[in-house]
């Protein structure tokens, strides 16, 4: 048993830390965007940063080298994720989705041409790919999606609409799940995956304003959108299984514990500023956060360690996501406790503290644990797949 990192790994951590510090523009800290708070300006910064990461092979380090990865070990990937999180690096939801959900699917099921064009583009940070999964009537029950893709000679014709499509308004492509066989006996068996050029005629993007009062996600309408049949990824009607494998493998959010560690440190400093750090209740709450962040970190380490031993997590990733997401809500709460009424103040209000971060965190934390697989679904997965409890 050994909870330490090797000398080489520690050196890598320092290298990453220094690089992030050097490459993050000061303006990023002034903007201080949390997830869902992208503006055109913050988007531009994070895109540039991700391209720099991509050139180092650090944007999608798990991908094979010929597709823009760096053959990085699992432990180093953990370290990289931790440093990106802890140092508030300019990475956004788009990196998470493209690198961790879309790319792996392409690498597993795509043609060589598709891998070269899209997976490599993701890894270099050149391509923005949004996720066409959820629909107004297909959230947790994603398999009941209704967007259709009908083959007509050399094309597929797409009709339908997607919702919660983050950064569709910035995206080059959409990674689309559509129904190719409405007559399949099981809803899971009639779905296929496609790459759709967002400039294709017939696509309309309608902004949705999120709880952070920002335009981050969208409703996307497909009205007789024609795409080449080569844009089918993998096998026709095999899309559900392709999608599930990707959702499984990277649900871990292994850098989040480090992100929360940073938040906690800032709250500790703030508590001292507010002179409530001797209050026994505040001490207990901050200590409990330190305890839970450490537990969250252990869950992340365990996943990285399992992968490094070629053990495939079954429920461990879901468990980590559930725990981490609910921890963030508690952390936001503790922030409010410390800030008192100041915690209510929005960023640009007179008397606002910490750039309104606490107020923003309280809103922001409502999405984690819902998006990307709600905690209810995750708990079902833990119980059924992890503990063998019966479905019916």
């Amino acid at each position: 048993m050994d909870f330490s990192f090797t000398e080489e790994e520690e050196a890598f951590r320092k290298e990453v830390h220094d690089w992030i510090k050097k490459e993050t523009p000061q303006r990023w800290f002034e903007l201080d965007p949390l997830f869902w708070e992208e503006t055109d300006e913050s988007w531009a910064i994070s895109r540039e940063f991700q391209q720099k990461l991509g050139r180092k092979g650090w944007l999608a380090p798990a991908y094979p080298k010929q597709y823009g990865g760096s053959g990085m070990s699992h432990m180093k990937r953990l370290i990289l994720a931790e440093e990106l999180g802890y140092n508030k690096a300019p990475v956004g939801i788009e990196m998470e989705v493209a690198v961790n959900w879309v790319g792996p699917d392409l690498l597993l099921f795509g043609s060589e041409e598709q891998k070269q064009k899209y997976a490599l583009g993701i890894a270099k940070g050149d391509l923005v790919i949004c996720l066409g999964y959820s629909e107004p009537n297909a959230g947790s029950d994603l398999a009941s999606l209704q967007t259709t893709a009908v083959q007509e000679d050399d094309e597929y014709v797409i009709n339908g609409n997607k919702i919660w499509t983050s950064y569709a308004h910035y995206a080059d492509y959409c990674w689309l799940a559509a129904r190719t066989d409405p007559n399949a006996p099981r809803k899971y068996d009639g779905i296929s995956m496609f790459v759709v050029d967002m400039k294709t005629p017939g696509i309309t993007i309608h902004p949705l304003i999120n709880l952070m009062n920002r335009h981050s996600f969208n409703e996307v309408f497909f009205d007789n959108v024609r795409i080449p049949k080569e844009n089918l990824v993998g096998k026709k009607n095999n899309g559900w299984y392709e999608l599930m494998i990707a959702l499984d493998s990277e649900r871990s959010g292994i850098g989040y514990a480090a992100t929360f560690q940073r938040i906690l440190e800032e709250l500790v400093e703030y508590a001292k500023e507010r002179k409530c750090h001797k209050d026994p209740i505040i001490r207990q709450k901050l200590a409990e956060m330190a305890v839970e962040i450490e537990v969250s970190r252990m869950m992340c380490y365990r996943i990285a360690w399992m992968f490094s031993r070629d053990l495939h997590p079954s429920y461990e990733s879901s468990m980590s996501m559930v725990f981490t997401s609910e921890l963030l809500r508690r952390l936001a709460d503790v922030g409010m406790d410390i800030a008192g009424p100041y915690g209510q103040l929005e960023r640009d209000s007179k008397w606002a503290v910490l750039q309104g971060r606490i107020e923003r965190l309280c809103l922001n934390c409502l999405s984690i644990g819902v998006g990307g697989g709600s905690n209810e679904i995750q708990r079902n997965i833990i119980a059924q797949r992890g503990l063998g409890l019966p479905r019916k």
Binding site: M1, M299, E316, R379, L389
Partner: protein, 377 residues
């Protein structure tokens, strides 16, 4: 980074699981719980033959040369099968402090006999003030005729009623700093001035009131240096907290498995209750508690084993695991429904131990305060 057990540890774990499953059935646990003695001599001897008592002591003292991590693995299995008896205090509160602070003579006197299962030890530390601070030590040891005379009351002393020796933590000097002036004495329990009264506790663990009435002990019984005992106690408390976490992790794992197995079998509304989402979600919450507890304990144990500063990790582990074990057993009771609220059933054996374990060596509030200090608050 390797957060798994070594091959030898896996072997130890499996062997201990098999042995205790066979030799320590719940029927025996319940009998021992209701007895005053609290352990089976026959089982104790078998454990000694397996080398369990000697596990963490160096081979030169007839031990197995194992590490603190090995002990954590073994304690996990003892917690899984809720083995009653004085193994914990003998090794963790007796043997380990002697190993750390004893003179060569003391180590030769006690450790081989501990390793062979010939001695039971415990530590008389807490007093009626029920705190783990140095200032809580008021039992006095005064020099008298070249010896020391110990007077005062210790409380919540585990297995004092069966111990051969008590490590009595007493105050030998009043100073401005309560952490100095504390001395550890290895006291023969047969001393006529010692009176043990068994307390009746929730977990049926044999905690005692121990009254010291002019108990005369020779200078040679001092462990380490006079007035310098508190650092040894602090070290002991850190190891004891993590050792207790190890037991609790094992117990929580067992409680989880019992509840999940029941959820698969118990039929209501024509289906196993494990198909209901509420029950599935309880189980999902339990496994997060158990897995979190396991790795947070391993981390603290590893740091202690490496001799790294471990105060923060120990406090984090103890704060978490105590709360986690309680949450798991409460949900366990919820899943078992009515049948779980009977003495005949087994879940309460774990619940009681969760409560006691959470309390031992500082409860979660105590350890959170340690974490707060470590955060610089």
């Amino acid at each position: 980074m390797d957060i798994g057990l070594s091959e030898e540890q896996e072997i130890l774990k499996t062997a201990a699981r098999d042995f205790l499953t066979k030799e320590c059935p719940k029927k025996l646990v319940k009998e021992l719980d209701e007895s005053d003695k609290g352990y089976s001599l026959e089982l104790w001897r078998k454990m000694a033959e397996l080398g369990w008592m000697g596990l963490v002591f160096p081979e030169e003292y007839d031990g197995g040369g194992g590490t603190f991590l090995d002990l954590v693995v073994l304690l996990g299995e003892m917690g899984y099968n809720i083995l009653p008896g004085p193994f914990f205090p003998t090794i963790v509160l007796g043997g380990l402090p002697i190993l750390k602070a004893g003179s060569e003579e003391q180590k030769r006197k006690f450790l081989p006999r501990i390793a062979r299962g010939e001695l039971i030890l415990t530590m008389a530390l807490t007093e009626p003030s029920a705190s783990y601070d140095a200032s809580s030590i008021t039992v006095k040891a005064s020099p008298r005729n070249g010896n020391y005379s110990i007077n005062g009351t210790k409380l919540f002393v585990t297995d004092a009623n069966v111990a051969d020796y008590l490590l009595c933590v007493a105050r030998t000097k009043e100073t401005a700093n309560p952490k100095t002036g504390i001395t550890i004495f290895v006291v023969d329990a047969k001393n006529p001035g010692i009176k043990c009264t068994l307390l009746k506790t929730l977990a049926r663990d044999k905690q005692n009131e121990v009254v010291f009435d002019n108990v005369s002990v020779p200078k040679e019984s001092i462990l380490g240096d006079v007035d310098q005992g508190w650092p040894v106690i602090q070290d002991t408390l850190e190891k004891a907290a993590v050792a207790k976490c190890a037991e609790m992790v094992g117990g929580a794992q067992a409680a989880l498995e019992m509840a999940v197995n029941y959820a698969k079998e118990r039929i209501q509304f024509n289906r196993p209750i494990g198909t209901f989402q509420a029950v599935q979600h309880y189980c999902a919450n339990m496994v997060a508690d158990v897995d979190g507890a396991r790795y947070i304990t391993y981390k603290a144990a590893w740091e202690l084993n490496e001799g790294l500063p471990a105060t923060k990790s120990v406090a984090i582990a103890k704060a978490w695991v105590g709360d986690a074990y309680q949450r798991v057993t409460i949900l366990g009771h919820q899943i078992f429904g009515g049948i779980g609220f009977t003495m005949d059933h087994d879940m309460h054996l774990y619940y009681r131990r969760a409560k006691a374990g959470a309390m031992a060596f500082g409860n979660s509030n105590f350890h959170r305060e340690v974490v707060a200090k470590e955060l610089g608050l």
